[in-house]
Chain length 227, copies 2
DNA sequence: TCAGGTGGTTAGGTTAGACTAACTCCCGCC
DNA sequence: GGCGGGAGTTAGTCTAACCTAACCACCTGA
């Protein structure tokens, strides 16, 4: 009774659903129908239909009117897609001249077409990178992912000495702006000031002082700096 | 009335049909329904259905009960796919350790997912190669393809001094065997003997003498050697 | 406590692409 | 010159996705 035998290959669509369900339910809990619909830009009834198919296939657990969670099998499939996506992003930026703000769409299409073999060769050629260009951890081929304990810049206290680890957006305009400001994964920063009422955070980098609005400060994931 | 405006992107399936129609009708003339069905491993009525859609889209010309030919627009699209496929094959073999016998399937899937930009970057990284690993010419980005005048080894006379230019199969087992025999694009050879009744052809290479059966000899495309 | 409203689901329809079964065209052979 | 067989097409069905319209469940606030 091993469901792994004769496993039919997943469709593009299924792969996309699993990925967004992973992201939406990663902070524990359920992914809501409307959230999934929003992320994939489809109508809610389309999600209901797919949810039915996915839970029949044993990839998700569906609690009607509550939402959806990945099963072990679904999680494995989702992590595989995330590995593909992130390895592709690193490869395209390091080997083919892509920038961190334009690599997402290309990887998004390629991730459904590459073989495991190709991904492992790309990863090998890159020296098995652990993070993608935005600082997100790359799951291992075995399906393990680093769970880092990061704090949004917006939530860290004035005076904190931090390292920027990860940037939580794929929006090209925001990414370009952040790169201009030198706000890239790995950079060291110190919070010198914050205006009240969701005001901007002022940080000091080696390269100078930056004033970061609330919206962007919530996308900049940091950890305490160990000097 | 420019049909190029608002052109919907082609589906994977359409891209595959255009490619096989290109190959089947490249020696002038029409591609037959059953040939297309055979190449794509679908049933003939599926081809009839697709043919209707493609000719409505202006990509092919259909003469009922005779067959199908590409229009200028369809030819352009087919050559674009062939460029993608062949550039991918070169990239995967030169940069990622693929062999000429296992690169076809990977390229076949990727060709539908890559952007024009990525293909041009790969081509650039490779120095704009003109031939794929099997010696097939790569169409230019502008859609032009070299029309070489090649002769199958099986059809060349005894005594001919030839250069092997292109290998007309993607079958891994045959390709592996040919590589073992040193029968690779670019190699110089002289026909020393041929047995009658579709018998084997004996050739002399720098590396030694080879006896090539009729089936393989029809896959080895050669041109006269200019010493 | 029950009345809305929001969000989720069901019902029913569309499209691309495939299939099988059944029919028709064409050509070669007698 | 007609007939038979193979190739091509038409008709009808299926599935995966999507959609809109309509219906229902749950929770919150009066």
């Amino acid at each position: 009774m091993n469901a792994l035998l004769h496993e039919p290959p997943l469709t593009r669509s299924v792969e996309d659903y699993l990925k967004v369900i992973y992201h939406l339910s990663s902070q524990g809990g359920f992914a809501a129908t409307s959230e999934i619909a929003g992320s994939l830009d489809v109508a809610p009834p389309s999600v209901s239909g797919m949810v039915k198919r996915l839970s029949e296939a044993g990839l998700i657990e569906h609690v009607p009117y509550r939402g959806v969670q990945l099963t072990t099998q679904g999680r494995r499939a989702a992590l595989k897609m995330i590995r593909r996506h992130r390895v592709l992003e690193v490869y395209l930026t390091q080997q083919l001249g892509y920038d961190w703000d334009d690599v997402h769409d290309e990887a998004e299409r390629l991730e459904h077409a590459v073989s495991d073999q190709l991904i492992e060769r790309m990863a090998g050629a890159l020296g098995d990178p652990r993070y993608d260009p935005h600082g997100a951890p790359i799951p291992t081929a075995a399906g393990e992912i680093e769970e880092a304990d990061l704090t949004a810049l917006a939530d860290a206290p004035v005076g904190a000495e931090l390292e920027l680890r990860q940037v939580g957006t794929e929006d090209p305009a925001r990414l370009r702006y952040l790169a201009e400001q030198g706000l890239l994964p790995g950079v060291a920063l110190t919070i010198t000031e914050r205006q009240p009422f969701n005001g901007p955070t002022t940080v000091r980098l080696a390269a100078g002082v930056r004033i970061v609005g609330q919206e962007l400060a919530q996308l900049l994931w940091c950890r305490a700096r160990t000097p």
